[in-house]
């Protein structure tokens, strides 16, 4: 027990002495929170719009007003003479062009159709998709309300559950916690163990009377502690500063956080046993843990939209399961039963990784 404490103390000192690393670990999620809270809005607003109004009638001006008043578009160019949409897009004056043909107003009164053209710069496909939908709806609903052209246009009402304002920070906080845990537990542990190997201090510890189990526990516990501490702080800031909801049971979240932390630690150990230098450990940890946790976990990019081979690949990414669990608990108060398809694979993955990594670590040590 005393030897265990000594190892833990040594490891904790290592962590605490490196103020710069600690600062970044702590700052990164906070700045991401700030950015997601204030800067990154997924609901598009103020899309730059260039208008070529060849009609220049009262009707056409009212249509333009409908665009600017919607809040979705900001007028950056208003021309009555022809404009070249290619040039507008290439000079990045606007991302969308609305072209109203001559005779638009007159033809409406006569009940004929005069098609309005709406062009988007689809080199940004997401903006183009959403802008196109907005434009279609603005034009149609304006015509319907103004001229009663076809009263059969349906009235679609929508109701958003769990995140009525569609705020991305609500969605992002759980993801940040998952990435943070990976960063501390997998990345930092693999680096420290690799460093002890590279500088030869691991051998010095081995010749001391410390037992293998004590080394493993003593080295890993401080990282778990640090990760939990920072995780709690981030969640508290998210709740009290950014107003993120927490409707589920904190105890349940704590239990599965520990499972996930163990899983991350196991990956960290596994990487460290296979590499010889810190540099390789870091790169491997980045590729094996950090990137999948961000890209393949459903953190920002929906798994359902990925092609099948990639979707299969996501099943071995622990963050995938943890994200659903933490989101379920924080935002929806999900029960154990509802989360069973996440809990079971996560626990299995953790168990397998722990067994394999500890066995490998023992052979490395002996």
């Amino acid at each position: 027990m005393q030897r265990l404490r000594a190892i833990m103390k040594k490891e904790l000192l290592h962590i605490l002495r490196d103020v710069r690393s600690l600062t970044i670990i702590f700052l990164l999620p906070l700045i991401m929170l700030v950015l997601y809270g204030y800067a990154i809005r997924l609901d598009l607003k103020n899309i730059p719009l260039a208008v070529w109004d060849a009609d220049n009638s009262q009707e056409s001006r009212e249509l333009i007003r409908a665009f600017t008043h919607s809040g979705y578009f900001t007028l950056t160019l208003h021309a009555i003479t022809p404009i070249d949409p290619q040039e507008v897009f290439q000079r990045r004056i606007a991302k969308t062009v609305l072209a109203i043909p001559a005779g638009y107003g007159a033809s409406l009164f006569e009940g004929r159709s005069a098609p309005v053209q709406f062009l988007t710069d689809a080199s940004e496909s997401n903006t183009a998709t959403i802008a196109g939908q907005y434009a279609e709806q603005i034009i149609l609903s304006r015509l319907v309300s103004r001229f009663g052209m076809d009263a059969r246009l349906p009235d679609v009402r929508s109701l958003v559950l769990f995140n009525p304002e569609l705020e991305s920070k609500v969605f992002v906080v759980p993801g940040l916690v998952a990435i943070l845990f990976m960063m501390i537990c997998a990345l930092m542990t693999s680096i420290t163990i690799a460093r002890e190997k590279e500088t030869g201090t691991l051998e010095q510890i081995l010749v001391s009377p410390v037992r293998t189990a004590e080394i493993i526990i003593g080295k890993l516990f401080p990282y778990m502690f640090l990760a939990s501490l920072i995780g709690v702080v981030v969640i508290l800031i998210a709740i009290f500063w950014f107003g993120a909801p927490f409707v589920g049971s904190p105890l349940l979240l704590a239990v599965f956080s520990i499972v996930y932390l163990l899983c991350s630690l196991a990956i960290g150990i596994l990487i460290s046993t296979r590499v010889r230098t810190v540099q390789v450990a870091m790169m491997a940890a980045l590729v094996i843990t950090m990137l999948p946790s961000i890209m393949l976990s459903g953190f920002v990019f929906p798994i359902a939209s990925m092609p099948l081979p990639i979707r299969i690949l996501t099943h071995i990414v622990p963050a995938r399961y943890f994200l659903v669990i933490i989101r379920g608990i924080m935002l929806k108060d999900a029960s154990l039963y509802l989360l069973r398809f996440q809990i079971i694979p996560l626990c299995m993955l953790t168990f397998i990784l722990l067994v394999v990594s500890i066995r490998r670590f023992r052979t490395t040590l002996e």
């Binding site: 690393s21 970044i24 990164l28 700045i31 991401m32 950015l35 800067a39 990154i40 809005r41 997924l42 609901d43 598009l44 607003k45 103020n46 899309i47 730059p48 897009f89 290439q90 159709s113 098609p115 062009l119 988007t120 710069d121 689809a122 080199s123 940004e124 496909s125 997401n126 183009a128 959403i130 279609e136 149609l140 076809d150 059969r152 246009l153 349906p154 009235d155 679609v156 929508s158 559950l161 769990f162 995140n163 991305s168 969605f171 590279e198 540099q279 870091m282 790169m283 590729v287 990137l291 890209m295 393949l296 920002v300 990019f301 929906p302 359902a304 939209s305 990639i310 929806k332 999900a334």
Partner: protein
């Protein structure tokens, strides 16, 4: 000059003797490009949807057919009452429900506005927003196309440069820019810090080599590697992902050269303010994440609050991603890209000057 050459030779020997490192330098960008090219998608497809049809008329069935035949949605449940409307969302079985009330078909036949309602799981706000938009579009189009010819022709939406609206075309150039940053910034930073951490930097300092020669000798090999990684990624992007390359290769090479230099300078900067490889990694990672979020790679800059829009002017990745997309997808000419090249070059010179100054001070 020969000193620099010796330095370069030493660096290359070091890189090539470490098999693991070598496979990381060349393997990582390629694998990432493949996986990320598919994984990072803002297209929303296969959204799980539950339909509650209380009308069960011909009209409602025709509408449902549209949902069944759309690639945007995967219908997981079909019911004729509302009992499970909340439950399917709670359990996560469906992300979206569409309810068609009784009298829907009759209303549309009698010329009254029929009603339909959507319930959306808003947790993933982006997917929710786009999926709801799609659902609304499907319902609108159904009536638009069933309606008089007048209504059908009222608006024509056309997407230029990417008519199929594939997010791949937007994302892949962005990933290339990101990979360049990873290779150039991270590896340079790590290479320099490593020498300091294991003490060989002091050995180099007592040799007659000048600090600037040392830096150049360190940087040139990574510039070469960065250029090779760029070539490989471009090949994958064009051959495999079929991203169009409509613009001028000269302009592309010019921007890539300036950006590569900027990324290397950032690596140098990171190495001068950190003392262990772990710190260097964390700082480089920090810069990378900030660049990804603030460069317009995923999130349009025009959508951010004004104050933060000014912040993005200081992020070199912003200009490079814009240039890559403009040149590859839109074939934009150089004269329209000068407003990107100028600030990028300015930032490049500034970072180079700062980090060269810091290197001088530390050695």
């Amino acid at each position: 000059m020969t000193r620099i050459l010796h330095m370069i030779r030493k660096e290359f020997l070091q890189i090539f003797s470490d098999r693991a490192m070598l496979s990381i330098i060349f393997g990582m960008p390629i694998i990432q490009l493949f996986v990320l090219g598919y994984a990072i998608t803002t297209d929303v497809t296969n959204v799980t949807i539950a339909i509650h049809d209380m009308d069960r008329s011909q009209e409602s069935r025709m509408l449902i057919d549209r949902f069944l035949n759309s690639k945007w949605f995967r219908v997981v449940e079909y019911d004729s009452d509302l009992v499970r409307r909340q439950a399917v969302i709670d359990t996560g079985d469906a992300l979206l429900t569409v309810s068609i009330p009784e009298g829907f078909g009759a209303d549309s036949e009698n010329g009254r506005a029929p009603e339909a309602s959507l319930v959306i799981d808003g947790v993933d706000s982006n997917t929710a927003l786009i999926a709801a938009g799609y659902a609304r579009t499907i319902i609108m189009r159904h009536f638009q196309e069933a309606g008089t010819g007048d209504l059908r022709d009222l608006v024509r939406v056309r997407a230029l440069y990417n008519p199929a609206l594939e997010s791949r075309f937007t994302i892949v150039p962005g990933i290339i820019a990101l990979l360049m940053t990873i290779v150039a910034t991270l590896l340079t930073a790590l290479g320099l810090v490593r020498e300091r951490e294991i003490g060989t930097l002091e050995q180099l300092n007592v040799t007659p080599i000048h600090p600037l020669q040392l830096i150049l000798g360190k940087i040139i090999p990574f510039a070469v590697l960065g250029a090779i990684a760029f070539g490989l990624s471009m090949t994958v992007a064009i051959v495999w992902f079929e991203v169009p390359m409509t613009g001028s290769w000269t302009a592309l090479a010019l921007f890539t050269g300036v950006y590569l230099l900027t990324a290397l300078a950032m690596g140098m900067f990171v190495s001068t303010v950190t003392s262990t490889q772990q710190q260097a990694l964390f700082l480089a990672w920090f810069i990378l994440i900030m660049s990804v979020l603030m460069s317009g790679f995923m999130f349009p800059i025009s959508n951010m609050p004004r104050v933060l829009q000014y912040v993005t002017y200081g992020i070199p990745l912003r200009y490079y991603i814009t240039a890559l997309r403009e040149i590859m997808l839109k074939g934009t000419e150089m004269r329209y890209l000068l407003d990107q090249l100028m600030p990028l070059s300015g930032i490049c010179v500034a970072i180079l000057a700062i980090s060269a100054g810091l290197v001088h001070k530390r050695s």
